[in-house]
């Protein structure tokens, strides 16, 4: 829309000054966003002497991966000095099934709620949607009790269950909003052609769904991987996901404070979601702004 810049009559000295100001603004805020990452990265490569003698922005003398190795396999989290490794795998084991199951259920539910509307379907959707808005504090207590009752307390399957349940409102919302924009005639035509509920889903809707599948998977992946509240509330010791372990690692106060290890641990924890964002973030923003946020 800023085609105006290229229209005639805009080439005054004011315009050049404006452009300069514009880039100044963009770049200084770029620095606000990017510098913390650079600081964390460079700190993780320094040794403790360098940290004490240098400043935040001074660059490490060499790329020293010692603190990364230490954070990964030796750092103490509470009393056990295993590094982040086992917790990282906890998170992987928790995130993958939770993302997949909540996405599949969300897709099927969103499909049934839009393309095979039964009486009360809108009401059902509204009730599911409500789940997007609750502060999770209102379910922490009963959930802790229920997990204990089910024998899932402090286990990865327990967290998987929690993340599926509280991710569902979002996945249903995403798929429902995507599927309402797909013409009903397509489903009518397929019904007349003799395809049933699942055949229509599998053969016609699913091949049209990659954009929203990408959005949902990225959303769920970052939400679940980054979760701290549920992990901190329902797990202790070896059952913790990596975010909780990271927090414990940073707050474990035995011996010297090793900032470089903290930073390496933070980066290890952030790596999967950052990787997903860098690889597929474009599709995420596009899909999110096109579909779900507009409503």
């Amino acid at each position: 829309m800023a085609d105006i810049a290229s229209l005639p009559g805009g080439n005054s000295p004011w315009r050049s000054a404006g452009r300069f100001g514009l880039y100044f603004l963009l770049i200084s805020f770029g620095a606000y966003y990017i510098l913390p990452l650079i600081v964390v990265l460079s700190t993780s490569f320094k040794d403790l002497d360098e940290i004490r003698n240098g400043t935040l922005l001074s660059l490490p003398a060499e790329i020293n991966l010692e603190s990364w190795r230490y954070a990964w396999s030796e750092a103490c989290i509470g009393v056990s000095c295993t590094g982040l490794k086992p917790y990282f795998w906890n998170s992987v084991m928790m995130t993958i099934p939770a993302v997949l199951i909540s996405t599949v259920l969300g897709a099927l539910t969103g499909y049934a709620l839009t393309k095979f509307k039964f009486r009360g379907a809108n009401m059902v959707f509204a009730m599911i949607l409500f789940g997007c808005f609750i502060p999770f504090q209102v379910v922490l207590l009963p959930m802790a009790q229920s997990l204990g009752f089910l024998g899932l307390a402090n286990t990865v399957p327990g967290l998987v269950l929690v993340h599926i349940v509280y991710g569902l409102p979002f996945t249903v919302l995403f798929f429902r909003n995507y599927y309402v924009s797909i013409p009903d005639d397509l489903i009518k035509a397929a019904t007349i052609d003799g395809a049933g509920f699942f055949t229509i889903f599998w053969r016609i809707l699913l091949p049209l769904s990659p954009p929203i599948i990408v959005v949902t998977i990225i959303w769920q992946f970052t939400q679940i991987w980054n979760d701290f509240l549920f992990g901190a509330s329902f797990t202790t010791g070896g059952g913790q996901p990596v975010t909780v372990a990271l927090n414990n690692l940073v707050n474990t106060t035995t011996g010297v404070k090793r900032y470089n290890v903290d930073m390496a641990a933070a980066l290890i924890t952030a790596a999967p979601t950052l990787a997903v964002y860098v690889l597929a973030g474009r599709y995420f923003v596009r899909g999110l702004t096109a579909g779900s946020v507009k409503g």
């Binding site: 800023a2 259920l105 504090q137 924890t269 952030a270 979601t273 096109a290 409503g295």
Partner: protein
């Protein structure tokens, strides 16, 4: 499709197969719906009930009226938490929206390297609040962080101790939360700006309006829905914020930067005050609903009109 193939029961040729065919949609929705009913509505009801009991370490089920709520509102920590929420929420929402909007307008001026800048503004969104807190804790660390950097650049009198200053700790949360979320707001605004009808702008340009006037008077008013969405999304995040506090300030110094979510966690899981924790959780739910219900109402109404 509209109301189709579900309402009428069928002749008794192959009853089961036919019944399945007409009800499959309901069957597919059922598991999700059941999970939500139980884990959302059932659990809220449970928490609500417990908030009216004197449960301590274990839940008890004898009804005791609003005892816990009275107790909650008499606690100075809870008042601090609610005040913090107000200060943090207000600043966080305001700054994130202004910044997000500003950056979106700036990015919309056909700048070079737009894709790169967008990525830079947006990546914090992918990161956990725990990581954000850890990183900013290190950067704002009074001994080794920003302060030291400015000292080494020759600005000896520079001091930045917000993290350990009980009056200022809450603002460090704002800095970190804005860092993490404003890029997302920017993305929302940018998408909306790209959707503004370019003919309106050309018409205004022909009428002789300057660029800044075009933005202020014509374009931004059309983005009202985005302002609203951003406001509600950010408000919702503010009420829920828990991890950032844990990682950045730990609620301290003292309880000076505690938030309702941390209060609830502390009471429930550390101090064995389940009833009180439940009451604070219900207060949080009420706060969120006070924000969300008007939002949903306005959304639905607009869609009906649209």
């Amino acid at each position: 499709m509209t109301n189709s193939m579900t309402e009428k029961s069928l002749p008794a040729k192959r009853p089961l197969a036919d019944w399945l065919r007409w009800n499959v949609a309901k069957l597919v929705v059922a598991p999700t719906f059941a999970l939500i009913i139980f884990f959302v509505y059932g659990f809220i009801a449970w928490t609500g009930y417990v908030s009216f009991t004197k449960s301590k370490m274990l839940p008890t089920y004898s009804f005791d009226g609003i005892y816990q709520y009275v107790r909650l509102w008499k606690m100075s920590t809870w008042h601090v938490a609610m005040e913090n929420l107000l200060v943090f929420g207000g600043l966080f929402i305001l700054i994130a929206i202004v910044l997000g909007c500003l950056l979106a307008v700036a990015l919309d001026q056909r700048v070079r390297a737009e894709g790169l800048l967008r990525t830079v503004y947006l990546y914090p969104m992918a990161i956990s609040f725990i990581i954000t807190g850890t990183a900013w804790k290190w950067i704002l660390n009074p001994g080794l962080g920003l302060e030291k950097m400015f000292h080494s650049w020759g600005w000896e009198s520079f001091s930045f101790d917000w993290l350990i200053n009980s009056d200022m700790a809450i603002y460090t949360l704002v800095i970190a939360a804005v860092w993490q979320s404003s890029g997302f707001v920017m993305a929302l605004f940018l998408a909306a700006l790209r959707g503004v009808d370019s003919e309106i702008i050309k018409a205004a340009y022909l009428d002789g309006a300057s660029l800044s006037r075009i933005y202020l008077v014509i374009i931004l008013p059309t983005l009202r829905p985005v302002f609203l969405s951003s406001f509600f999304i950010l408000a919702h995040m503010a009420v829920k914020s828990f991890d950032l506090v844990v990682a950045l300030t730990g609620g301290g110094p003292g309880n000076s930067s505690i938030m309702p979510a941390n209060f609830m966690y502390e009471m429930t899981f550390r101090r064995n005050q389940i009833g009180l924790g439940a009451a604070s959780a219900m207060m949080m739910l009420a706060t969120v609903m006070a924000i969300v219900i008007p939002y949903l109402y306005s959304e639905l109404r607009e869609r009906k009109h649209g």
